[in-house]
Symmetry: C2
Subunit: 326 residues, 2 copies
């Protein structure tokens, strides 16, 4: 089996071998730019680790692995238009650096390029792989639409929020692992279990993101905390605090989320909302929820008909992501 | 073999059987709406006719045929955002009826749904089909980007214009026929020739569109002519007129295309530009070009190793589209 470092090297080399220098340049420059900014490449890592775990050919699966990363990056390009987000990973977003039209169209192209990568893999399971990938692509769109809807909705339940992040984030983690397993020829039971492992880990990852956005160490985090609070994002922390708060505190919380603040008062807003989070002890709640998803994930991977030693790399990789402070 | 009417019925029934009523509604309502507005369904018709011509299973191919129509409609939804187009087929465009975000995201979903349809077809040629489809999807994006670029560029040559419409329109016509042939198990030579037939017919169709937009019979056309002139679209007619015109006439033409006009003066602009088209006899040129592409198309279909009787339905269908006055 490959070590995590070896898998990462395979992915990096594969990315280096892909050159997106087609014409017209307006279409391909944003694609190169987006992929050049980096990212943790979580999805292709998981895909190849799952493929390797089930004894599949990692080199063969690497085209599909890259395809899932292209898909993920396509969704980021389009999401950034919809969210009016000027920055991603500290750099200008595509729509900001170029314009919305170029962001729409280079995103569309990247979506097609994702399929181009996925279908490169010579495998008897192509239809199954594409069914999993396409179902997930549709779900990710549904998740993003729910996220947009929630911006202007009040009274979203935590259950609804969790369903939104399941669709927007977790299913693609699950599908990456599942597709790796399918390429390796894993049986349906194992394939379903690795998917559920990924889905639950994905939910835990997203809750970790919510937590870090408010309570991350700014020095390690590399950016200021409180971004979700500034943009009035109704994360798990906000919804749970609102659930726990008494009427008076609820009013304070929702008033902060109703208004936009200038730069000076933004810090005051962040501090005030975080104080409510601490007062309502929502960090305990999110930690409990996160651990519950993590434990669910472990339950699913335990069901897989392979010796524990084969599962170590994926579990360790997931632990690293769970325990990250950035 | 199926008649053209029978093929149309198969497509209509297939569309009726598909219900896009998923959640969230904001994502699926625009998809139902777009498909409900109609259209000539040229691409699925051609796909099934090609499949039938080569002796394939038309029922089996119908899912893929619908997939190509979904793809085409996805591109229209996104193009309408980029072009600020308020109307399509006499109805509000998606971005106008809802908003840009919903148009971006329901378009993305429709792109994924197109793949969902294409991969439904049980065939040993799935990889080949997807290679053709995905290559075409990328080319259509490239064509749209060129079209956007041309808006603000002067000195576009007719050659560049033809390459743009080849990518934006013709390759998808070619791919529809090619994919129908692949599903039927046609050999590589025949598949390549039916593609080239479609590509050339597609170019002829687009030139016909350019012609009708300026010189169509308004009563039959169902809309006012001159839309391309109002929106300063550098079509074949414009570029050819500019090529032929002397310096003085060129200045008149490019001045008309530099400015926007209010409603009253729009008609004056249309009349003036059309008068230049007539003066420079560009309608003769476009007809010649159209016929040359049509003849090329016929040359390619003639090379296909099937009796002429098998080719009649596709040729007749293409003739109808070539001779349309709407």
């Amino acid at each position: 089996m490959y070590s995590a470092d070896e898998i990462q090297i395979i992915i990096n080399n594969k990315f280096k071998s892909l050159i997106f220098d087609g014409e017209p340049i307006e279409l391909y420059a944003p694609i190169s730019y987006t992929l050049g900014i980096g990212g943790k490449r979580i999805r292709p890592n998981l895909l190849l680790m799952a493929c390797d775990m089930f004894g599949g050919n990692v080199e063969l699966a690497s085209d599909t692995a890259i395809g899932l990363e292209l898909f993920h990056n396509f969704t980021l390009i389009h999401d950034d238009i919809m969210d009016n987000a000027p920055l991603r990973r500290g750099k200008d977003t595509v729509y900001k650096k170029w314009n919305s039209n170029i962001a729409i169209l280079s995103g569309d192209t990247m979506f097609a390029l994702a399929y181009k990568q996925v279908i490169k893999t010579k495998t008897p399971y192509l239809q199954k792989i594409l069914e999993a990938f396409t179902k997930t692509a549709i779900e990710v769109c549904e998740g993003q639409q729910l996220d947009l809807n929630f911006e202007s909705l009040n009274g979203i339940s935590i259950k609804e929020y969790l369903e939104m992040i399941r669709l927007k984030t977790a299913v693609l983690i699950g599908a990456s692992l599942k597709i790796g397993a399918i390429i390796a020829g894993a049986n349906d039971n194992d394939t379903a279990n690795i998917y559920k492992f990924g889905e639950n880990i994905g939910l835990a990852f997203q809750l970790k993101d919510d937590f870090l956005d408010a309570f991350g160490d700014e020095n390690k985090f590399g950016k200021k905390t409180g971004g979700d609070i500034v943009s009035n994002k109704k994360t798990y922390l906000y919804l749970k605090a609102y659930e726990i708060a008494d009427e008076q505190l609820r009013k304070v919380l929702s008033d902060y989320y109703k208004n936009s603040f200038d730069n000076i008062n933004q810090q005051q807003k962040i501090d005030a909302v975080k104080a409510i989070y601490i007062q309502t002890k929502v960090n305990n709640h999110i930690e409990k929820e996160m651990n519950a998803y993590y434990q669910q994930a472990i339950n699913y991977i335990n069901k897989i008909s392979l010796p524990d030693s084969k599962k170590e790399i994926i579990i360790n990789f997931s632990n690293t992501l769970m325990n990250r402070d950035i």
